[in-house]
Structure formats: structure tokens, C-alpha cells
């Protein structure tokens, strides 16, 4: 048994031996590697320089980039005043809650892998370590102290110049932005010289514009001190524009720019033609043929250095102009031959115009006029005005200060004035009555008999010296008339000339030559000497007027039906020399007063027509 026991011990020893023989291998696979060399690494922290103060104004992310020489970044450790503030690999977040307005230490520790492929590199224990130190300071850019104070002046070329105070902190550059009324902001300039605290905007010409100047604080990513300025300017309105008529189809626009900035004014007329005003204050443009009323001009105000072709990119203004027109726009006018003035009245006011058609007096009349009301003056200075109720008010002169009387007329009556007399035709009774102008005493009545006919114009005519009187009976349907011209002596009428069934539509006695009358036919008019009753001259066309001040004759050249223009001729008082021939728009009328050609209330001096 003892032998067995020994055997058992022997087996146990073997077992222990077994366990000590576990597999093992001592091959280390040693690799010869070169140790990593020193490298140069760096950091670009938003462009700021190490060991200098970084300014921040708000919760800020300072983005940075690293120069790692191709080495893998293991970690970044950020410390503010020695306390860890995270390890972001692309930015440093700084909260204003972390810092006060003192300087703080910012440390950035960068750890790179060696990349050698060694075991230590594998274990991330073989590293390049870079440590960078910065200073941080909080800037309250909204404080009054830090706000830039911006003001405006003009430079030597009158361009808008913005100037601002020196900033309270060192800056690298200034960015100047313009801001329009709709909030759009545009960078108009960057000033890299921190000592230059001004900027000229050559693109400002007019209107609301706000500027923002941002002074970028040195050593900061996005810290800037701001200043705002809204341009002070004078509003441009229609009073700053004026159109001067230079001819029948030519005018000049005058621009009184209340602001000093160089500009280019682009004028676009009714037809779309473009004119530009770069220097000076006036520009010529074509207008529609005289007379025009409320014709549109589009005006574009551009900065001077802009091409006018870009005008559509700028605001435009509407401006309406008309040919020169009589003040008050009277319905009816006539010439005060005593005072050599034009007088006229609209529905409620009376105007007196001088020789240059400037309104020099006006009076309010206590009655209304109708569209058919007449106004007339007597050669003795009296003024006759027909009101809406057909009363003929007679005044002592054109001041209307003294009304002599009011002569009642019928609504169909027509009247005319001479020197001291007033002639009135009554188409109902076919009579011609003559009154004493100063007293309204009827001197006589001449009855022509016949039936009542309302399709006719039964009108009187009286020479300016009361020597001659005429009556015309014009039928609108047949366009034929009969007329009689008398010499008037007291209450006696001596017929000087008469015709029947002739296309006469008007008879005009000449103020400048009392013995001369114009008998107007449909396509011509005859100048008849009343002493001899001979036709001195017959002119093809339609008689329009004789200028009481110059004696020049205005007539309209016959035109074809539907013509868009009317052609006029002005002859000298000898009726031979043609002074002017011109065309106008096809409005009816046309008269001469002191060499002003007038259609309705529009007027233009004949010199302008001649010189255009």
C-alpha cells in the first residue's frame, strides 16, 4: 500500500509539472523605427496675435485653425485663467458670463500624434504638444463711450463726406455700409488705414440713407465699434423744377438742386427720349407741339459718377408741365385797348394781365359767368361783362371798382362794344339795338324782319371808333350768311356794303386802322377799305387776329380735314411781309397780343417761335 501511496504522490508531482509547462512565446517582433523629429506647429486664432489682447463683445466663438504639419490632432485643451473651458477642436466659445471687463488669460494646448507608427504612437502617448497664450478682454460695444460719432460734411468736390471720431480702442480697419430705406445694407468701402477716420461716398446724391461705420477692433474676430448716421438732406419737390418753354416743341428744364452733391439728372420725355443734365442746372428737351397741358416728364436723379444708362435703377419722380398759361385760366379774354392790357375772367374771378401776360390785378366778381358769357372792353376804357343770367355789367374801368349799371339781355342776345356804344342783336326779334355805353340808353333799334331761326348766329360788329357797325346773319346749316356794314352817324345807319348767301362767318373791324374791316369767308378773308369799300387784299386762309399793339396779322392757313396740326402765318401790318409761319397743335382759336401767340389761355412769344 505504501508503494501505491508513493505512486500517487508521483502522479501529483507530474500534474504540477504539467501546469508549469503552459505554452508561451517570447518573440517580440522588434521593429527598427526612426524616432520622430521636431516639427513646427502653430495656431491661427481668428487672425489675432499671440500674447496680445483679444477683444470680444458678446458670447463669442473664436474659430481657429492649426498648423499641424500633417499630424493628427489628438486633443485641444482650453483654459481660461487656468480653468478648463472645454476642448472644442475648431472654436473657442467664450461667454460674457465667464469674464468681466478685465483682461483674462486664455491658454490653448494642442496635442498632436507623432504619426511615427510606433507602439507609443499607437497608444497616443507619443505626442507633440503646443501651448499658446492669449489675452481676452470684453468690450461693451453698445456703450455710449464706445459708439462712434459720425457726422457729415462735403469734400472739395461736393461729395458726401462722413467723418467719425477716433475710436476708443485700437482698430485694424473701418467698414462703411450704406443702408437704404428698405433696410438693405451694402458695404461701400473698407478703410484699412486706422488713422483715416473719414469716408467719401460718391454714390450718394439724394434721399434717405443711413450709414453704419464699423470699426474692427484689433485682435478680435468680430468685435467692432459702431456708429450710425442718417444723411441730412433737403427734400426735393416740384418747386425745385421749372420748365421754361423755348419754342413750340422745345423747352428747358431747370433744376434747382437744394443739395450739394454732384448729380446726373436724367430726363425722360413723353415719347421716351432721354436727356441728361450733368453739369449746370438746365437741360433742353423736346415737347409736344404747342399748346400742351400737363405733359409728363420722368426725372431720375443719379449720382454723378453713374452712367445715365443705368437710370432705371434709381428712383424716379414725376413732373408735369404745361405751356405758359394765363393765371386764373380765364374762360374768356379780350384786350383793354385803353390800357393795352389783356383782361379776362373765369367763372368767378376777373384778371388783368400786362403786356407780358403777367397777371397784375384780379378782382372777385359778385356774380357767376357761364361758359357762353362774353367780356368786352370799350375803347373808352369801360369794361362789359355778361353774367350767367345775361345781365351785361358795365364798369368804369378794368379795376371793376365801379359798376355803372347792369343791362339786361336775353339769353340769345349778342353784344359788342365800340368806343362809347354797345350794339346788341336780338335773334328772336331780328333787331339790332345800339346803346350809349356809359348810360345804357338805347339810341335806336334796327329791325331786320324775317322768321325766327335758332340755327343761326345773328351777331353785331362795331368799329373801335363807333363809326361803323355791321350785322351778320350766319346759318349753321347752310354755312351761308348775309351781312350788312353800315356807317353810323348818330342814330342813322348808312349801308356801306352787304352781301347775301355768302360763306361769311365773321366781320372784324381793325383797331389800328378804323377804316378797315376784315370780312372772313370760309376759305379766305378780304381786307376792305371802308372809305372806298374796295378790297385792299384778299388772303387765303382763316382770319384769326390783328395784334392791337403791333398791327401784325395772324391767320390760319387752310388745312385738310383731320390734320393733327394747324399752320399759322403772321404778316406785318402791311399785310405783305410774312413775319412767321409755324404749326401748332390742332386746338382751335389763335390770337396775337403784343407778339404773344395765344391759343385759349396758352401763350408763347413769337420770338421764341422764331428762334427755336
Amino acid at each position: 500500500m505504501k508503494q501505491y501511496t508513493n505512486s500517487i504522490y508521483l502522479i501529483s508531482l507530474f500534474c504540477l509539472f504539467f501546469f508549469s509547462c503552459e505554452w508561451d512565446n517570447n518573440d517580440k517582433n522588434y521593429i527598427e523605427l526612426e524616432k520622430p523629429q521636431d516639427i513646427t506647429m502653430g495656431i491661427d486664432l481668428a487672425g489675432v496675435r499671440e500674447d496680445e489682447v483679444i477683444y470680444i463683445y458678446n458670447n463669442t466663438n473664436l474659430f481657429y485653425s492649426l498648423s499641424t504639419q500633417g499630424k493628427a490632432l489628438l486633443q485641444v485643451n482650453l483654459y481660461l485663467d487656468g480653468n478648463s473651458i472645454g476642448s472644442d477642436i475648431s472654436k473657442i466659445h467664450l461667454s460674457v458670463n465667464q469674464i468681466n471687463d478685465e483682461e483674462h488669460d486664455l491658454k490653448v494646448v494642442i496635442v498632436l500624434r507623432s504619426g511615427s507608427g510606433s507602439v507609443a504612437d499607437f497608444a497616443n502617448l507619443e505626442q507633440y504638444i503646443g501651448e499658446y497664450n492669449f489675452k481676452i478682454k470684453f468690450v461693451d460695444q453698445n456703450s455710449t463711450e464706445n459708439r462712434l460719432k459720425v457726422s457729415q460734411t462735403i469734400d472739395e468736390n461736393n461729395y458726401l463726406k462722413l467723418t467719425w471720431d477716433e475710436p476708443t480702442l485700437p482698430v485694424d480697419r473701418y467698414d462703411v455700409y450704406s443702408k437704404t430705406w428698405n433696410g438693405d445694407e451694402k458695404l461701400i468701402g473698407t478703410i484699412n488705414d486706422p488713422t483715416q477716420n473719414w469716408c467719401v461716398d460718391k454714390n450718394y446724391v439724394y434721399g434717405f440713407q443711413q450709414y453704419r461705420v464699423a470699426a474692427h477692433v484689433s485682435n478680435s474676430s468680430d468685435v467692432y465699434l459702431e456708429g450710425f448716421h442718417t444723411v441730412e438732406y433737403t427734400t426735393i419737390n416740384e418747386d425745385n423744377f421749372k420748365v421754361e418753354i423755348q419754342g413750340l416743341n422745345k423747352a428747358e428744364l431747370l433744376f434747382n438742386n437744394p443739395n450739394p452733391y454732384p448729380f446726373c439728372l436724367v430726363v425722360k420725355d413723353k415719347l421716351g427720349n432721354i436727356y441728361k443734365m450733368r453739369d449746370g442746372n438746365r437741360v433742353s428737351f423736346s415737347k409736344s407741339l404747342f399748346p400742351v397741358y400737363n405733359e409728363l416728364l420722368r426725372l431720375y436723379l443719379l449720382p454723378a459718377n453713374n452712367e445715365e444708362a443705368d437710370y432705371l435703377n434709381f428712383d424716379n419722380y414725376y413732373f408735369y408741365f404745361s405751356d405758359d398759361i394765363l393765371t386764373g385760366i380765364p374762360n374768356v379774354t379780350t384786350v383793354d385797348v385803353v390800357k393795352k392790357q389783356l383782361i379776362g375772367s373765369n367763372f368767378s374771378s376777373f384778371y388783368v394781365y400786362d403786356k407780358n401776360l403777367n397777371a397784375i390785378n384780379n378782382a372777385t366778381i359778385h356774380y357767376n359767368l357761364s361758359t357762353g358769357s362774353q367780356i368786352n372792353s370799350l375803347t373808352n376804357g369801360l369794361v362789359a361783362i355778361q353774367d350767367i343770367n345775361y345781365f351785361l355789367h358795365i364798369y368804369s374801368d378794368n379795376t371793376l371798382n365801379r359798376e355803372l349799371y347792369a343791362l339786361p339781355l336775353n339769353y340769345t342776345d349778342h353784344f359788342v362794344t365800340g368806343k362809347d356804344k354797345i350794339a346788341v342783336t336780338d335773334p328772336v326779334n331780328n333787331t339790332l339795338s345800339v346803346y350809349e355805353g356809359a348810360t345804357a340808353i338805347k339810341l335806336f333799334t334796327n329791325n331786320y324782319g324775317g322768321e325766327q331761326d335758332y340755327s343761326r348766329w345773328f351777331a353785331p360788329f362795331l368799329s373801335y371808333d363807333d363809326k361803323y357797325i355791321a350785322v351778320l346773319n350766319y346759318n349753321f346749316n347752310t354755312r351761308l350768311a348775309w351781312y350788312k356794314i353800315y356807317e353810323m352817324q348818330g342814330n342813322t345807319l348808312t349801308e356801306k356794303k352787304s352781301e347775301i348767301n355768302v360763306p361769311v362767318n365773321n366781320i372784324v373791324f381793325n383797331y389800328n386802322n378804323p377804316n378797315e374791316v376784315f370780312i372772313c369767308y370760309s376759305t379766305r378773308f378780304d381786307i376792305v377799305d371802308l372809305t372806298t369799300m374796295q378790297t385792299k387784299k384778299s388772303i387765303t386762309g382763316a382770319f384769326r387776329d390783328v395784334d392791337i399793339l403791333t398791327g401784325n396779322l395772324l391767320y390760319k392757313v387752310n388745312s385738310t380735314t383731320g390734320s393733327l396740326t394747324n399752320q399759322y402765318k403772321i404778316l406785318a401790318s402791311n399785310y405783305t411781309d410774312e413775319i412767321l409761319s409755324f404749326s401748332t397743335g390742332n386746338q382751335s382759336g389763335g390770337r396775337l397780343f403784343n407778339s404773344y401767340f395765344m391759343i385759349n389761355n396758352y401763350f408763347i412769344h413769337t420770338d421764341k417761335i422764331k428762334n427755336q
Binding site: 502522479i11 509539472f17 505554452w23 517580440k28 523605427l33 510606433s118 507609443a120 499607437f122 497608444a123 507619443e126
Partner: protein, 232 residues
Amino acid sequence: MKRIIIITFLTIISLGAKSQFSVNYSAGYASYKMNDMKELMTFSLQMGISSGNLPPNAKLVDIFPAYVMHTVDVGYQSGNKEGGLKLSYMTTGSKIAVADYSGSYEEKLITNGYRMGVFYRHHFCNMTIKQHTLSFFAELSPALTIATMKTKSKLEINKSDNTTLTEKGEEINQKKTGYSIQPLAGARFKLYNHLLLTASAGYDFEFGASLGSGYRMDFSGFRINAGVGYMF
């Protein structure tokens, strides 16, 4: 366990007075198939390097090589037949390693097999040379195999102050059970009627010991043994 073995021996001893007991120790050389484990280690190396979990210069310096094994058996022989208990210890492993100026890294995976079984040995030829006996035998041994696996990893970094930073990885241990059958052929030389010299060769068929995912610790392989023993 020890008590069970002792009781088993005593039972066998009491079977017959003419029978002979023997105790043998054999040291041998064993190859290990370990196909799954080799594939696993190769794949791990490739993946580890490409993923950065292993140093780029790491390589497999050993992968489940043939290695020394130890066997102890206790037999009882009667005539040409011999039977008994047999205990074998198998060990092999794999190693990933790299070292350079900065330090070293190694990762070992060690597999051990504890084969516990019985054997039947038939001595089919006996020759007497002087007072010694030479016999040739065939043997068949079924057994239960307890397979263990463990990993060891170690990182050593040479610091600039000439000290070493050592970091050991977490060990993973696995234990699985398989079974095997091992045919052998051998010769035994009995000297002076007690001292035994044996030599044998054969193949060990191992089954089981799966680690899951289709991998298993396969200790199958050729066996060559030489041993000494004592016959009572």
C-alpha cells in the same frame, strides 16, 4: 476528485492478485489543428491594424504551434490486455506582438486542454530479451476534454525618464468541454520486470469545445510520446 481517483485505483487493485499495476509518465509532442482559432487570430490581426486597435507593425509571431504535451496514465494489465485511466495536458497558443524603441505590445491567446479518459491497450506482440520484455501494443483512449482559453495583453511604454509604463489588458477566460478519441500504437520495454520505457504515436480526434459563432478549440492532431513508468 482526488478521492475518486484513489477509490478507483483501489477497486482496480482488488480485481486480481496476478495482475500488475503500472504508472507511466509520457512527454510528447502534439500538433493542434485549431483551424477556427487560427482564422480568428488572423482576422483579428487584420481588423485590429486597419481599425487602429492594434499597432500598425504588429504581426502574428506564433499561431497555435505544435507543442509539448504531458500524459500520465495508471494501468492495470492482465495478460495482453491493459486498461486504465489516462490524463493528458495539452497547451498551445497564439501571439500578436510588436516592439520598437518606444515600447512593446503583445497580445496572447492561450488554449489549454485537459484530457481525462480511460484507455485500453492490447499488447499483441511480446518478446523476451534476456530478462527484459519488449511488447508492441495498440491503444484506444476515449476521453473527456476540458478546453480553456484565456487572453493576455500587455503594453509597455519606455518613458523618457527610463522608466516603463506598463498597462495590462483585461483577461478573458473561457472554458468549454469536448470529447475525444485517441488511437495510438506503441512499444513498451520492461526492464528488470518493473521499470517501463514506452513510446507511442497516434492521432487524437477532438470534438466539441465550441466557443460559439462557429469557432471551437480543436486540439485534434498527431501525438508522439515517450515515457517512463513503473510496474508493480
